[in-house]
């Protein structure tokens, strides 16, 4: 007995020691992470916003004055309308498709899902290209049906942005729908509610947090990812392209850019606050107990048919767009000189940009995932006060319009000690801090499933903290890291809004390359390069999927499991 007690006391002391080290390591790591987030998110963002109220003469509101007297307020209203319209359509259509792929006819679920997700691997402005080639003055459909369409303007922009960001909305809503306890709907049906009534009184109210989250992400993308907007807007002004012109134009004016950024940010900040503070504790957890198996309830025709129309329209447009861009990439000048050419697909400038993009994206993916997971660990396991701030800051980076963060980096890192402008590092860092939240959210979910007791049990069995981390924590958190990697990698490959301000001739990025050529009307080259981007992203995902046999991480499985953004 005495011996046993002595032994357990030794074990106890050891446990206390590891406990001590662990708490402090985690807390110190927390401090370092906070500092990093402050330098690479807080500082650049503040730099932009301060510019808007701080001229050479000191504090001033004259840029805001100009905002309201020049045409800029119209850009603001247009942008607001664009964001609201795109978001509403994306959320509505996303919900319809998600409802179909979780409760609709079984044979439709998989094809519908993967086709809907397809645009995620393409640059968002693929839809500007396809709209021009389909409905432009010399577009296939315009000529075929002899139409007289005006696609350049507000309508074209909304359509393109909706097509581009609907997959994001779908993914989030689908995930929420899958995790919704189906016995709630069964219960309502048992109590006599019709499918429509169940939708209105149970399903939709429970999805509100998902709708908010989806709205935030889609809204931010719609107003700041301005490829489609710049290409299709014509004479209609929008904030993000305005900022782009102001910053990259002949007379660079960071003050006005700062003011415009404020207005780009304002609605986003409002949704962000609503989502994170007012709605936080209204997230509905399932009460308790076993999940029940969802037998597919038959969807009534009154609900099935309208949803099918939405889904088929969307999927049809996606397939059509991909097809026409593929054709466009091998056609000399669509609609004018419809002869086959390989010139665009072998273009060396495009290949150069592609390689450089791939390098940046891989690095960003690696570091972005690592940073996200580290933050997740610190947020979940740390005991220090500012945990919430670390998490919030990271999320804010994700919710930040890319345009704002791009200018922020330009302003913040163009003087010593952090002179990064024109380097590859600034491109990588920008993506890392912009998207780390995805890995973080995924990591937090995983870590919350792994109770601290499991780690303690491992340590109790004699494993040291590093061993515990390697043998217990890492395997569980690995899928989250992979998920973060894929998201950051893919988004960095195709996203334009931030890096467009940061590329230099030495480090061209393919997203910027495509945008600039498309913007100047070289649809063929832009299409061919888009095809190459899609192919490369698809191959990378394919490799990860094939590796799943060894890594245990499957993309299909993970997308089914959860969405971390």
């Amino acid at each position: 007995m005495a011996q046993a007690r002595a032994l357990s006391r030794a074990a106890w002391a050891r446990e206390n020691a590891t406990e001590f080290i662990q708490t402090h390591v985690v807390n110190i790591a927390g401090g370092v992470l906070f500092l990093l987030l402050a330098v690479f998110l807080l500082w650049p963002i503040s730099a932009v916003l301060v510019k808007g109220v701080y001229g050479p003469e000191g504090f001033t509101l004259r840029f805001y004055e100009r905002f309201f007297t020049a045409y800029y307020y119209r850009s603001f209203l247009n942008t607001l309308l664009l964001g609201v319209l795109t978001t509403s359509v994306c959320i509505t259509a996303g919900f319809c498709i998600a409802y179909l792929t979780t409760r609709g006819p079984r044979f439709l679920r998989s094809p519908l899902k993967w086709l809907t997700l397809l645009p995620l691997i393409a640059p968002p402005y693929i839809f500007a290209l396809s709209i021009i080639m389909l409905f432009g003055r010399r577009g296939f459909i315009t000529q075929l049906l002899n139409l007289d369409l005006q696609i350049f303007g507000f309508t074209g922009v909304v359509i393109a942005q909706t097509m581009a960001f609907l997959p994001l909305a779908y993914l989030i809503i689908e995930n929420m729908l899958t995790s919704l306890d189906s016995s709630l709907e069964d219960s309502a049906a048992n109590l006599g509610a019709s499918e429509g009534k169940i939708l209105r009184s149970i399903t939709l109210p429970l999805l509100v947090p998902g709708f908010l989250k989806g709205s935030l992400i889609v809204y931010v993308m719609a107003v700041s990812e301005f490829g489609n907007v710049a290409i299709l807007a014509g004479r209609t002004p929008f904030l993000a392209p305005d900022i782009y012109t102001i910053v990259t134009g002949i007379e660079t004016d960071f003050h006005m850019a700062g003011t415009l950024s404020m207005f780009l940010l304002l609605p986003v900040a409002i949704i962000f606050l609503v989502q994170n503070y007012f709605y936080k504790d209204k997230g509905y957890v399932t009460i308790s107990g076993k999940p029940s198996y969802a037998g597919p309830r038959q969807m009534g025709l009154l609900i099935l048919i309208p949803m099918m129309i939405v889904a088929l329209t969307e999927v049809g447009l996606i397939v059509l767009s991909f097809a026409v861009v593929a054709i466009g990439g091998f056609t000399r000048i669509v609609g004018i000189d419809n002869t086959f050419t390989l010139a665009y697909i072998v273009d060396w400038r495009a290949n150069h940009a592609l390689v450089s993009s791939l390098r940046v994206s891989l690095l960003a993916g690696l570091f972005g995932a690592a940073l996200g997971i580290l933050i997740a660990y610190v947020v979940v396991r740390g005991k220090f006060k500012g945990r919430g701030a670390v998490e919030g800051l990271c999320l804010a980076g994700f919710a930040m319009p890319g345009t704002v963060l791009g200018i922020g980096y330009l302003l913040a890192f163009n003087s010593p000690p952090l002179l990064l402008t024109g380097t590859m590092i600034i491109l990588v860092l920008n993506s890392v801090f912009r998207f780390a939240a995805v890995g973080m959210e995924a990591g937090i979910t995983k870590l919350q499933q792994l109770s601290i007791e499991v780690e303690e049990a491992s340590r109790n069995l004699g494993a040291s903290t590093p061993t515990t981390f390697r043998r217990v924590v890492l395997p569980i958190i690995f899928p989250a890291a992979m998920y973060g990697f894929i998201y950051v990698f893919m988004t960095t490959m195709v996203s334009l809004s931030a890096v467009v301000f940061l590329t230099s001739p030495a480090y061209p990025l393919v997203a910027v390359f495509i945008f600039q050529w498309a913007h100047s009307g070289y649809i063929g080259l832009a299409s061919a390069t888009t095809v190459k981007v899609i192919a490369i992203v698809a191959v990378c995902l394919g490799i990860i999927q094939v590796m799943s046999r060894w890594t245990g991480f499957s993309i299909t499985g993970e997308i089914k499991g959860r969405y971390g953004g």
């Binding site: 306890d181 016995s183 709630l184 069964d186 219960s187 309502a188 049906a189 048992n190 109590l191 006599g192 509610a193 009534k197 009184s201 149970i202 109210p205 429970l206 509905y284 957890v285 399932t286 009460i287 308790s288 107990g289 076993k290 999940p291 029940s292 198996y293 037998g295 309830r297």
Partner: protein
């Protein structure tokens, strides 16, 4: 009980892909009775309940309510209400909102809804909690909200799928009584699903023991306890002392038999059943029917010497494991305060009663004694 069957389950089959969840289940449920479906996890209890209330379609078989086949009647027209294993309370509605959901769907008038909700809250002893959010009440209270919600529309049959399995031990026992009381008060035909045999025994009028998608035995708690039909039921109902044996000799005159068991030779009473020499059987002995003694020698039949291997004190009883020549017997002794508690390693004589339950080892049919 049971002349007019309220609900009949007739040879119901259901499989999910390769998994045969139900393989021909039949049962009659009488009006006003509380019948338990008892079986281990995964034996198809929930599936059967979902089929009865219409949320899942059976592959074959019929559900008959008051003489009418209701297979094609949708779940909301059957008058059968199910309480889900996880309660399935609507988290965005209040307690009252949950209870009144069905009433609102059926377009009841506001004041009638209000009155009915009050009545139900009173019935399940939740007065005054109507405005609480679902996550602001305890597990036992959530359970009662689920019950009230199911009772709101005054269904003909109530299905309770493991209603108590999410509660802690003490609360379970308390809620068991509450449930039974409410069921009697409303006089509603109730199917109670559980995998806890004690719970099933104490609460029900009758039991249906299920295993792997089939019914093993139907009967009153006493019947099931005293005359389990086969090995599975015996084990599931909590019999721990099952001795393998061979019939050595039978005597028609004294209606008894001598069995060569793992412990040694024992004489047992046969009652009405027949055994033939050489037959392999199981002898089932209830733990409380074995008597322990120190004084007696091993002389008479049915007495075997052994030693106490473990002692588990449980207040009103002590549970001993007695090692008899390498075979463990579980023995319950009541009122240890009066009798004193035996020590580990103490030598005792275990006396086995003549009246035991016998099962044929080779078939599933019982030999009734």
């Amino acid at each position: 009980m049971g002349d007019e069957a309220m609900l009949v389950v007739n040879d119901v089959h259901k499989s999910f892909g390769h998994v045969g969840a139900l393989r021909g289940v039949s049962a009659d449920i009488a009006k006003g009775e509380l019948i338990s479906f008892l079986g281990p996890s995964g034996c198809g209890k929930t599936t059967l309940m979902r089929i009865i209330c219409g949320l899942t379609k059976p592959d074959a078989g019929e559900i008959i309510l008051e003489g009418r086949v209701i297979n094609d009647v949708p779940p909301d027209r059957r008058g059968i209400q199910m309480c889900f294993q996880n309660y399935a309370l609507f988290p965005h509605l209040t307690v009252a909102g949950n209870i009144s959901y069905g009433l609102q769907v059926h377009k009841w008038k506001k004041d009638k809804i209000k009155a009915r909700v009050e009545e139900l809250l009173h019935l399940v002893q939740l007065e005054g909690l109507g405005d609480r959010r679902i996550d602001e009440i305890s597990g036992g209270q959530q359970q009662r909200v689920a019950l009230a919600r199911a009772l709101a529309l005054a269904p003909k049959v109530l299905l309770l799928d493991e209603p108590l399995s999410n509660l802690d031990a003490n609360l379970r026992v308390h809620m068991r009584a509450t449930l039974r009381e409410i069921q009697r008060k409303v006089n509603i035909t109730t199917i109670f699903v559980t995998h806890d045999q004690v719970e099933a025994m104490t609460i029900s009028d009758r039991l249906v023991v299920m295993n792997q998608g089939a019914v093993e035995q139907v009967g009153s708690p006493v019947e099931i306890y005293e005359k389990p039909r086969n090995e599975f039921v015996a084990k599931f109902i909590g019999y721990v002392n099952m001795l393998q044996g061979v019939v050595k000799d039978t005597s028609d005159a004294s209606r008894s038999a001598v069995i060569d068991t793992e412990l040694g030779e024992s004489e047992i009473a046969l009652g009405d059943s027949r055994l033939s020499r050489g037959e392999k059987i199981y002898v089932i002995i209830r733990p409380e029917a074995i008597r322990l003694d120190i004084r007696k020698s091993t002389g008479p039949m049915n007495s075997f010497a052994g030693s106490i291997r473990s002692v588990m004190y449980a207040g009103s009883t002590v549970k001993y494991t007695v090692d008899v020549g390498g075979k463990d017997l579980i023995v319950d002794e009541y009122d240890p305060t009066t009798h004193g508690i035996r020590r580990m390693g103490e030598r005792v004589v275990a006396e086995i009663p003549r009246n035991v339950h016998i099962l044929r080892a080779d078939s599933r049919t019982p030999v009734l004694t």
